[in-house]
Symmetry: C2
Subunit: 418 residues, 2 copies
């Protein structure tokens, strides 16, 4: 018993010394290599979320029981709210952090901003556009969709045409549709909406983009950006996260009909966020304490480097993977590099390769990639996630290992390229 | 680096040997004492949720990144659904596990079972009755409340009188109102409803009771029991958990109006639960993988002992704490022992003792207890949680330490008893 304790204590002491003695890159690298060994026998999770998690984030997940209104937790939640503003590049936007999946984010938008009978314009570049539209309808919206072919996104001309037909309360953009890997040009769309329909609220589904794609809430005049914890924010699933503009809050306050949700109502969440940010506890629903500790750890890591560097890293790694896919003679789901996301890659199986075979073969090389999700082509393509520490900490060799696993697997299955 | 790894590996090897070599109590005790040392400097979280978490549950919280549809996760989720049936003592009831706080459970009931204009009877024994009523109203219910004085619960006569006024679609019972520590007699109420109004669905808010109070879904004819992870189920906050009877599901299927929620709709969750239980992955929203690993670990621990033993343990510890409180001359919020919960104790401050002073003093003895929550008396009482491993593993001495911290603190603040 004493022996065990001594071992345990010594281990942690060594780690701490490494961590706090200096923060130069060599030490970080050494430390990562050493801690990373604890994840050695684990199959890499290279799907478009959940992504691989940093060891410090996982350690935060096992934070000992802590009261949600205790003096140790309140500042952690408060600081996380502040750090989210940095990640979303906003000064006035109000972060809201709720226990729930990313899917809850649609209810958090629709139930607070839509009043029955109001018009919503949904830009559809895949499965998640369909779902956002379905959710808006539940809350009484009359939905107009601009839908593109699989692998494409609505053009600015199509969006402009749609905007000219009605006065839309809001427009939704799926920044990256996880089902197709298609990237939308949020900045250009926002500029168009501002010019053509300035009263329309601009809503971005950033579940698969926040932390891996450039996004600037204030500069791009976005009203809501919703996301989840388990993608490029690098935190296990269980947090629905939103940034809400002052204009969106005002719209919410001005609504005439009652809010048709209890759990998702901003009337409950805004005071909670204000309380924690001013370092006071307040109760509506018990916050997921451990997930918020993990969020805090990850946000500190993310904001310790300029966001520009982060986006460049994601772009560079994405280019690397896409070049490999291209050199293998495989075909992307997105119709061009221009409309393809930087945090994931969606690729059609080559002829003759069965879906289950490839996923299992890749898994046998200790890398997990994902199958298809878009209903119309679900069995025809696979998806690779490349977000977060797998991208920003190349010493982990996640990307190299993924490329090797993919190319080896294809070879083993008899695929010899184009 | 090699040295660290050796230390780390040795530590885990020792633990594993202890754990798997035998399961007799002595070894469990030794193992617990040894692992518990890692929580030594941590203030005990003795509030009515979140409760103290077992080390193995915390370790599960830091499970490495795992796909929500991977062959390693699917059986864990599937088994957790099966284990929940055991904890709720039901064969036909359908467990639903959703990423969210306990508060989401009310929306999960109201949005699926209430159609606009239908009558709901809410038995109110504190803050959480008010909130459940508020949530039901959001979804169009006409709510009748049977409200008792603070510290009391509606009598069977009052409930019977209310039932005779209308045909209620559903009745809600807060099993334990966390704000007052008042326990409802769910079994007796259910018998009354079955006799007097058999078509009324029986809904139990078991957030602060499941795992600490006797509850038998099938035998007591309950239609929905909703709970959360962070109380007697012993898992960090972030899971909304429900059991839904066949009758409730049929009522849901027979509803004529559309379901007024997207995220909370059973139309999405029932197929997901069925899929995972039959060991298949299916996607609606990314499940909180790490929390579900933790749930699985805790449910295995809970079901390894007969539930009767568990309930007796909670009753015994509750009696012990309540006797100490009584011997100190303090007054309970619940008006009698009969209406008092077994997993928590709500106590009025003695005259002359300031709320903040007592909570801080107790915290200085490394025990965290909670202040008041019921709006009308919030600054006048405190609450102690005694659920889960703090009760079932007496070798941890959580209860002893809590009693010592409380009595010592009162003495130090000059309170000398009655």
């Amino acid at each position: 018993f004493m022996f065990q304790r001594r071992l345990y204590t010594s281990y942690h002491k060594l780690i701490k010394v490494n961590y706090f003695s200096t923060n130069n890159n060599f030490i970080r690298l050494t430390r990562n290599l050493s801690i990373m060994s604890s994840q050695q026998n684990h199959k890499l999770c290279m799907i478009p979320g959940p992504v691989e998690f940093h060891e410090d984030v996982l350690t935060s997940m096992s934070t000992k029981a802590t009261s949600h209104v205790s003096p140790s937790f309140i500042p952690v939640f408060g600081e996380s709210i502040e750090l989210l503003r940095k990640v979303f590049v906003t000064e006035q936007g109000q972060p809201i952090v709720v226990s729930g999946s990313g899917t809850l984010g649609w209810d958090m938008v629709a139930s607070n901003l839509i009043e029955p009978g109001e018009d919503a314009l949904v830009l559809n570049s895949g499965y998640f556009g369909d779902s956002f539209a379905a959710c808006l309808k539940v809350y009484g919206a009359k939905v107009t969709e601009v839908k593109s072919e699989i692998g494409d996104r609505p053009t600015l001309q199509e969006i402009s045409d749609a905007l000219s037909t009605k006065s839309f309360k809001l427009i939704t953009i799926t920044h990256v549709d996880t089902s197709t890997g298609v990237l939308s040009d949020v900045k250009a769309i926002s500029e168009l909406v501002k010019k053509q329909s300035p009263n329309t609220l601009i809503i971005v589904d950033g579940v698969c983009s926040v932390g891996s794609e450039e996004i600037r809430v204030d500069e791009w005049n976005l009203d809501v950006v919703l996301t989840a914890s388990q993608k490029a924010l690098g935190v296990p699933p269980g947090l629905s996260i939103l940034i809400v503009s002052e204009r969106a809050i005002q719209t919410f306050k001005d609504r005439k009909s009652p809010i048709p949700s209890y759990y998702a109502s901003w009337a409950h969440w805004l005071p909670i966020m204000n309380a924690y940010e001013s370092r006071k506890g307040m109760y509506f629903a018990t916050p997921p304490v451990q997930l918020i500790y993990a969020l805090n750890t990850s946000l500190k890591q993310i904001t310790s480097t300029p966001l520009e560097t982060r986006f460049e890293q994601h772009k560079k790694v994405s280019d690397q993977i896409k070049s490999v896919v291209e050199s293998l003679g495989l075909q992307f789901v997105p119709k061009s590099r221009e409309v393809a996301a930087n945090g994931m890659t969606a690729v059609y199986y080559p002829e003759g390769i069965q879906p289950a075979d490839l996923l299992q073969k890749v898994a046998s090389h200790n890398v997990v990639i994902a199958g298809g999700l878009h209903r119309a082509i679900a069995t025809k393509y696979f998806r690779i996630g490349h977000m977060g520490i797998s991208v920003t900490e190349p010493e982990r060799k996640h990307i190299d290992n993924t490329i090797t696993a993919l190319t080896t697997s294809l070879k083993e299955l008899g695929y010899s390229g184009n």
